[in-house]
């Protein structure tokens, strides 16, 4: 039976100091590693005969503006379909150089999900075959889910701030 402790020990055995920040919010194993190792860690989780995390449920990004040098988090949600175990894997990157290796070669589902992450957060996935906007209008010239942009339409002039509670 695959347990969180077993997965954790396997990872530490393979990567040692490089995997860190283990926690289990709501019973789901969560950890992180330096961003350069993301493909190595994913490949290990995929290939290992006991772990078999071969399904990428979801990937997304989070913007932490106060986390200097680690502003953008990219989060992978992986699923072992045989033992029905899910884990969460985070990597952090500097927002001024948000280059991350693309996981498209490993997981085909990563293709559109990385495009979406690029679209909303501007994470540059190195090696992605077709990294362009997927949800928003092609003409958009910013990444709307980054917290440096207001949620409201910034080009709007006809709304009176006082009337809308932002005076």
């Amino acid at each position: 039976m695959l347990t969180n402790d077993f997965i954790k020990n396997k990872l530490v055995e393979k990567f040692g100091e490089n995997v860190s920040d283990f926690s289990e919010p709501y019973g789901m194993l969560t950890f992180s590693s330096p961003k350069e190792l993301n493909l190595k860690v994913l490949q290990f989780l995929y290939d290992n005969e006991e772990l078999k995390f071969r399904f990428l449920t979801d990937m997304c990004a989070v913007h932490y503006p106060d986390n200097k040098g680690k502003e953008l988090a990219v989060v992978y949600h992986l699923h072992n379909l045989i033992d029905n175990i899910r884990i969460r894997y985070k990597i952090f990157t500097d927002i001024s150089k948000p280059d991350i290796f693309s996981a498209t070669a490993l997981y085909s589902t990563a293709n559109w999900q990385e495009r979406e992450t690029f679209d909303f957060f501007g994470v540059n996935f190195v090696g992605h075959p077709n990294l362009k906007r997927i949800m928003n209008a092609d003409e958009m010239d910013y990444f709307p889910m980054r917290k440096e942009y207001p949620l409201e339409d910034p080009k709007r002039i006809d709304k009176d701030d006082e009337m809308f509670g932002r005076g």
């Binding site: 928003n136 209008a137 958009m140 709307p144 006809d158 809308f164």
Partner: protein, 194 residues
């Protein structure tokens, strides 16, 4: 065994004589009636507006009630709801228009033949409504000229009927030369439409 049921046993006389519409002002004589061409064309147009529903969200549901038997837009000469823009007179935009949807609304408007009118129904179509966000168009008047705005979220069918009657009013009173005027050309140019 049949039951003794009777329908329509009481005569209900009309309260006022039933007329489809009032005749425009003019001179009547023995066997002729003279009036302005503008008025006659306006009369014909305003009582046979073909709407094109562009329904994207909850306002569209309210529009279905408007077309139904209870509110019945057909009373105003608009039972023919067309889904082909070429034959339509009135574009009814109902619902949130995302920025990615904007070129499609404009395309539909461009495909309509002149003379054409636009009715924006509900808060979203008129101003973006509560969706003051990066992905939603802040009112369709950013891309096409709008004749009548109907406020509400969503508006009651009565409100849309009122808006529709205002469109009828505009259509009936419009000068035949308006669409050839310089002012109209300027308006179209503002929206990048030639």
């Amino acid at each position: 065994m049949g039951r003794p049921v009777q329908f329509n046993v009481h005569k209900k006389p009309l309260e006022t004589p039933y007329t489809i519409t009032e005749a425009p002002a003019g001179h009547t004589g023995q066997g002729f009636f003279a009036t302005k061409l503008d008025d006659v064309v306006g009369l014909a147009r305003k009582n046979s507006i073909w709407p094109l529903p562009f329904a994207t969200s909850c306002c569209g549901i309210e529009f279905m009630a408007l077309m139904g038997a209870h509110y019945d837009l057909a009373r105003f000469g608009s039972e023919r709801v067309s889904f082909s823009p070429r034959q339509c007179d009135l574009l009814m935009v109902m619902g949130t228009i995302a920025k990615k949807m904007a070129p499609i609304v404009k395309q539909v408007y461009l495909q309509m033949a002149e003379p054409r009118w636009v009715l924006a129904m509900g808060a979203c179509a008129t101003s973006g409504g509560v969706f003051d966000t990066y992905s939603v168009l802040q009112g369709i008047d950013q891309i096409i000229p709008v004749d009548v705005y109907v406020p509400g979220c969503p508006p009651r069918p009565e409100a849309v009927l009122d808006g529709f009657m205002r469109v009828q009013d505009l259509v009936g009173k419009e000068s035949l030369r308006r669409r050839n005027s310089e002012r109209y050309a300027e308006l179209m140019k503002e929206y990048g439409i030639l």
